[in-house]
């Protein structure tokens, strides 16, 4: 079966490979296969000239790497990915935010690594538009993670308007009148 990822709201086949350095491999000398490859930031920096000449190339950031390192170069990539080494590591959300909001990246922004269904909603909000859920989990289930909430309070990348600017919120406009009524 071909690799699948979620792109936007759909499950699609994916022909990119993510290069992860193995023990002993050096960013400057590692060989990069032909075709669509998403390389680590360090590899991009070490082999920039050769890589920039390729038709399609992607780069990925580790959660402790700075998106600012790619300032001025972002239009060279078809994909920028952010790795979640652990689903509890939330740095990737801020990296995504800064890629979109401060650095103006508009291409595909993909979450890779320890990506689980219950993170997808916040990933979408902070600017991701592609997700490679962990391969041991159902990708169909993961898709459900994108639609948990239909309203949110605060602004983020997906919606620059916070709730109080999107809707007229009138004091006292209440759904039930149950407070004060006891149970």
């Amino acid at each position: 079966m071909p690799n699948q990822i979620i792109k936007g709201q759909e499950i699609v086949n994916d022909d990119w490979t993510v290069l992860r350095l193995e023990e002993g491999q050096e960013p400057a000398t590692v060989e990069i296969a032909a075709g669509k490859v998403i390389v680590p930031l360090t590899v991009w920096q070490a082999q920039k000239e050769a890589l920039a000449a390729r038709a399609e190339i992607g780069v990925w950031l580790q959660s402790d790497e700075r998106p600012e390192e790619l300032k001025g170069e972002l239009d060279k990539f078809s994909v920028v990915a952010v790795n979640f080494p652990k689903f509890t590591d939330g740095r990737g959300y801020s990296i995504a935010y800064n890629l979109r909001m401060r650095l103006g990246y508009t291409g595909e922004l993909r979450a890779i690594g320890d990506v689980l269904r219950d993170q997808l909603f916040q990933m979408k909000r902070t600017g991701f538009d592609a997700y490679a859920p962990r391969p041991d989990r159902s990708i169909e289930d993961a898709l459900k993670g994108l639609t948990v909430f239909s309203e949110t309070y605060q602004a983020s990348v997906d919606d620059k308007l916070p709730l109080f600017r999107r809707h007229a919120r009138t004091a006292g406009a209440r759904e039930h009148n149950d407070v004060g009524a006891g149970i």
């Binding site: 689903f87 935010y97 909430f149 004091a171 406009a173 004060g180």
Partner: protein, 563 residues
């Protein structure tokens, strides 16, 4: 108080559906315990010594009587008939079944409550002054801003998996009653010379293993920038806060590592891009939220002396002097219901007491209550003329112990009786001390003193800032207690100093006694315990406590009751 509109309702409802599904997936094995852990924690569900514990959010400590009744209902239906009010102004239930938590959330939602972000590595429930809105020294009621922060931080997509938990406190009065200096962010409402409302921003306070008092990084932040500036702080912390060691993951460690000036510079740089964006508060939004916190329809009353007519009643006088606080509206007072009766774990209330407190709120205080970070309950708007009647009623329910601010008004974490992180028990220590000093005249003579107890270094019982702080430590597998003195909360927040080697549980009442002996010997008129410690240093206390061996035989009070 704030009331949900359709959006608040919708978000909480969708949360319950999400959480119900997560619990299902955990029960079916689709989620591993490791994966479920951060999800349940962000919903305040811990696995404790005996069972699951659920922590419910009481935003800035403010409760309606219906909400208090709901706690009574939860205590009865899903727990063992009581709940525990915490130093974070929340409530915890100790005996919860995982399968029932979605139903509890649904019950809570019916009274506009939830357990969102009461735990986990996210922005936690914002805390504030229990006398907000009624205190005479208030500049601006901080609660609308706490509410604005609550909404903004709820499910903030970027700050849901921070390096560590994150706590924000906000104070609106001259006196700090929200312990802002020991929070990750501590905000004080200020007015500038032009009369504009803003915040003084403190960052990097906290207790735990490395107690640190927060540093002011901005003297005046105009109020409309509250959210964007907080966001800038959070973003810097999220990216640069340490994640390799959970004890060093707090923002206080980052601040210490790079220096407050550098931290502030990074925040300002981040903020430069955010300032003025759509997240900036509008006047309309601020006014909308402020409208929920309008003063109650007070009657025009003359201030009276509540003692009048009860001059001979010493018990009532004691209660008035300790448990009743001034109110900015003439003829009204704020009353603290003590949850510190001897023999009861500090902060615990039974379902019957909760129902009763709800009823009192309806009859005496516009249907509202507040939870204090000292683990008591406040009725903030009682007519002075009704104080005597109220006192008679609450006496019968064990809520009138006249000990607020006294030695037996102990802050105490659940410790080894409930908490799986504990090194030692804490409830029996507080019980033994309360029992030993269960003598009102003596307590009143000692006067203001804060005794805080934590069962481990996490400092849930605020021991670092106790005038006397007791910390449970583990030595070769047995339980010992380390004592510090000179800590303080409020405007002159200070971290206590350890007096020396630790003590066994049985020695603790005598240790406290010896500390008090030095104080009583050395104090100048009107000097509080903490001031004497500050004036003399810890040496004379230390000397006296260790001068002769302490042999305190016998069983610890409460040991069996709370086991």
């Amino acid at each position: 108080m704030y009331q949900y509109d359709q959006y608040d309702h919708l978000i909480v409802r969708e949360r319950i559906a999400q959480y119900r599904d997560q619990v299902q997936r955990r029960l079916s094995g689709e989620l591993t315990e490791e994966e479920f852990l951060p999800l349940r924690l962000q919903n305040g569900l811990y696995m404790q010594r005996h069972a699951y514990m659920l922590r419910i959010a009481v935003p800035y400590g403010l409760l309606s009587s219906a909400q208090m009744r709901m706690f009574a209902h939860i205590a009865r239906k899903y727990d063992r008939g009581y709940g525990h009010f915490t130093t974070r102004q929340n409530i915890q239930f100790n005996w919860i079944e995982l399968e029932q938590t979605p139903d509890i959330l649904a019950d809570l939602a019916s009274v506009e409550m939830h357990a969102i972000q009461t735990s986990g590595n996210c922005i936690r429930n914002v805390t504030s002054d229990e006398f907000a809105g009624v205190a005479a020294d208030e500049i601006i009621d901080p609660r609308p801003y706490a509410e604005v922060l609550r909404q903004w931080s709820t499910f903030h997509p970027e700050f849901i998996a921070l390096p560590r938990k994150f706590k924000v406190a906000i104070n609106g009065a001259l006196e700090d009653r929200a312990a802002i200096a020991i929070h990750d962010i501590g905000l004080t409402v200020v007015k500038n010379d032009a009369g504009e409302i803003g915040f003084k921003v403190m960052v990097g306070g906290g207790m735990g293993r490395t107690p640190i008092i927060g540093t002011t990084i901005r003297e005046f932040l105009p109020r409309e920038h509250l959210l964007t500036y907080t966001e800038a702080i959070m973003r810097v912390y999220n990216q640069y806060g340490r994640r390799d060691n959970k004890y060093k993951a707090r923002i206080k460690i980052l601040l210490k590592a790079i220096g407050a000036e550098e931290f502030a510079r990074q925040v300002e740089e981040e903020w430069a891009d955010l300032k003025g964006t759509e997240e900036t508060l509008t006047l309309e939004e601020m006014e909308r939220v402020i409208a929920y916190f309008q003063p109650h329809p007070y009657e025009q009353l003359e201030a009276i002396d509540p003692r009048a007519g009860h001059e001979d009643n010493k018990a009532f006088a004691n209660w008035l002097s300790r448990n009743v606080k001034p109110h900015k509206q003439a003829g009204y007072a704020a009353v603290i219901l003590s949850l510190k009766k001897t023999g009861v774990p500090p902060g615990d209330a039974t379902a019957e007491q909760m129902d009763f407190m709800a009823e009192l709120a309806d009859r005496y205080s516009f249907g509202e209550l507040r939870v204090t970070h000292e683990q008591n309950i406040v009725l903030a708007d009682v007519k002075q003329s009704q104080l005597f009647d109220l006192w008679k009623e609450i006496k019968a329910h064990g809520l009138a112990t006249p000990n607020i601010g006294l030695l037996t008004d102990i802050i105490c974490c659940p410790g080894g009786d409930f908490c799986s992180l504990a090194n030692a028990k804490s409830i029996p220590i507080s019980a033994a001390i309360a029992e030993r000093f269960d003598h009102l005249d003596f307590l009143h003579d000692i006067g203001d003193i804060e005794l805080n107890i934590s069962g481990c270094i996490n400092a849930c019982g605020h021991h670092h800032v106790g005038n006397i702080g007791v910390l449970g430590v583990d030595k070769d597998g047995s339980e010992w207690y380390q004592v510090s003195i000179g800590g303080a909360q409020g405007n002159a927040t200070a971290i206590g100093k350890i007096i020396g080697p630790s003590f066994s549980a049985h020695q603790m009442p005598e240790v406290i006694d010896r500390l008090l002996q030095v104080y009583l010997r050395e104090r100048t008129p009107d000097e509080k315990f903490v001031d004497t410690v500050q004036r003399l240093g810890i040496a004379p206390f230390k000397e006296h406590v260790y001068a002769t061996p302490i042999n305190e035989p016998g069983r610890l009070v409460g040991e069996d009751e709370y086991a």
